[in-house]
Amino acid sequence: MNHHSKATVGSAVGLALAVAVLLLAPAGCANKAAAVLHVYTWADYIKPELIARFEAENACKVIIDTFDSNEAMYAKLKAGATGYDLITPTSYMVSLMLAQGMIQPLDKTLIPNAAYIDPDYLKIAIDKTMDHSMPYMITNTGIAYLKSKVKNFEPSWAMFDRQDLKGRVVMLNDMRETIGAALKFLGYSLNTTNEEELRKAGNVVLRWKRNLAKFENEQYKSGIASGEFLLVHGYSGDILQVRKENADIAFAMPREGGTISCDDLVIPKAARAAALAHAFINFLHDPKVAAENTDFTQYVCPNAAAYPLMNEAIKNDPGVFLSSELKAKCEILADLGADNAKWVKVWDEIKAAK
């Protein structure tokens, strides 16, 4: 009995240690293994079948890891975490990572599909020449509303002033998006650092606030699907997903312009499989692949050759595919650096106001 139990306890500990060693082992010999591409991205952001296709075509393995915010991803890499070959941060974060010397230049001879990138998009992009980043997916921040409930809809930020919608309207709990909307409404740049312009925009948001149910980032999606809210400020990618459930929802981009956000494909300095990462970027911008991926994510890959191949519902949506004229009025959120504090001050006043 004693020997038996001794063996059990001993073998349990032994087993645990053995498995622990096994866990450690692959870390040592990963270099010798077949080609592996480590992608660090948002969950459900690449269609799984496309990954399988890339693996088959390139005789490699693609391993996806996920992060949930640009800031957390940045903090982790900044502290020294390595091992990722391709990352998809939002444009403003790409600027910061570039300034910190964390990403490597792209070798465009390895990415012939770069020729398909929408030139209209590149005009407003931060990295216009795609030296360090290629755009992956864009989303517009605009207005979603219920067609049957909101009479006389106008595609304008002025909708947030409409008294008949009082208490059934929501704006994003996001300093850059919401003050940015007011700046656009006033005809200013949404990347302004001019304190006078910010003050005026702050006053507009304060006026809107009296009309709002709340500032909110997540629940607005279910809120408009269920009809609790009639008009919400939100991202086209999210709204398109919600619209699958409630066909009464429409999305519009205000005529004054608004934000276009883009997640970019970048290769970190420490990447071990840089060549494979270039091949994957090129693959994602194959027009057919880009169209298929757009149908999966409901975000739009800014690949002009892919546009005609996209799903009709997305392709024909004027809130998603903006006219060149409207697109020219839209802006990408830029990293504000030290001027961020000016925005925070205005935003704090807005949030504190009754």
């Binding site: 004693n2 139990s5 001794k6 349990a12 500990v13 087993l15 645990a16 240690l17 498995v19 622990a20 866990l23 450690l24 692959p26 870390a27 040592g28 990963a30 592996v36 480590h38 660090y40 948002w42 969950a43 459900d44 952001y45 799984p48 391993i63 996806i64 890891d65 996920t66 992060f67 949930d68 915010s69 957390a72 903090a75 982790k76 502290a79 020294g80 975490a81 390595t82 091992g83 990722y84 997540e218 999606k221 279910s222 809120g223 699907a225 269920s226 609790e228 997903q241 919600v242 699958k244 459930e245």
Partner: protein, 263 residues
């Protein structure tokens, strides 16, 4: 004499706050609607879709492997630590030991995550399942040690002396006296370590490397960009699993007590 209703109301409120959210989550995992605000009919579709999500299963496997290993290792280390703390209580060395064991409980998670990451990077360790395992053991030892220590506080050591008087060796004493009497503490410590490891996000996020995404990391990212109903379905499965483990462990404990009584 009329009893106060107050305890009853508080108990009911506590139970409500504990279990109502879980209940809502389970109900919504069968909701055909993608957005939980409206009920659009009963459906198993999220469970069916879950079957076709290899990345989620990989994350679940990573999580479970780590949790099981962490539980075993931190039980052994934590218990030995508690024994030392109890046996030599009061000595200067053990007071320092106690402080060291106690610290991980009060250090903010984000600080621990970043510092562990920096330590691993400085040591040139490649991030992965192994670093998550080490990080989890680091904080789980403390919980196990303190739970077992609590059990040792009212432990009657004369029983052990009696056993030794009767000729029991070190191992027999440990096996026949110490372990059975500590069993409830070990079970509590083990379950605590298991659940802490299972749902840790902050520390895990920092020490995880390529290819070692765990379920919590995956779930957080899904909330931002993906489908929440899948998370509901997954959570329901995990809940069923957890309850099953708890029920089985309670059953086992009961049998053990019976054996102890008759033997």
């Amino acid at each position: 004499m009329k009893r106060s209703r107050f305890p009853l109301i508080v108990t009911a409120a506590v139970l409500l706050f504990f279990y109502l959210p879980i209940f809502i989550l389970i109900v919504n995992s069968f909701n055909a609607s993608r957005f939980s605000s409206s009920w659009q009919g009963f459906s198993f579709k999220w469970y069916a879709q879950l079957l076709h999500e290899p990345e989620i299963w990989l994350a679940a496997r990573n999580t479970l492997v780590i949790a099981v290993l962490v539980t075993i290792v931190s039980l052994v280390l934590g218990t030995t630590s508690a024994l030392a703390l109890h046996r030599f209580a009061g000595s200067r060395l053990q007071r320092a030991h106690f402080t060291l064991i106690y610290t991980p409980l009060v250090v903010p998670e984000i600080l621990m995550g970043i510092s562990l990451l920096m330590a691993f990077v400085a040591a040139g360790v490649r991030l992965g399942l192994a670093t998550i395992f080490l990080a989890h053991v680091t904080f789980c030892i403390s919980y196990v040690a303190l739970v077992v220590l609590g059990r040792l506080q009212d432990f009657d050591f004369s029983v052990i002396e009696a056993a030794q008087d009767l000729g029991a060796g070190w191992w027999t004493t440990a096996r026949k006296i110490l372990l059975p009497m500590l069993a409830p503490g070990l079970a509590a410590g083990g379950l605590l370590a298991f659940t802490l490891s299972l749902d840790d996000f902050v520390i895990t996020f920092f020490v995880a490397g390529p290819g070692s995404t765990t379920l919590p990391i995956r779930v957080y990212s899904m909330i931002k960009h993906g489908a929440t109903p899948l998370i509901n379905a997954l959570s329901t499965i995990l809940l069923v699993l957890t309850f099953t483990i708890v029920i089985i462990s309670q059953r086992l404990n009961r049998t053990k007590f019976l054996e102890g009584g008759t033997g």
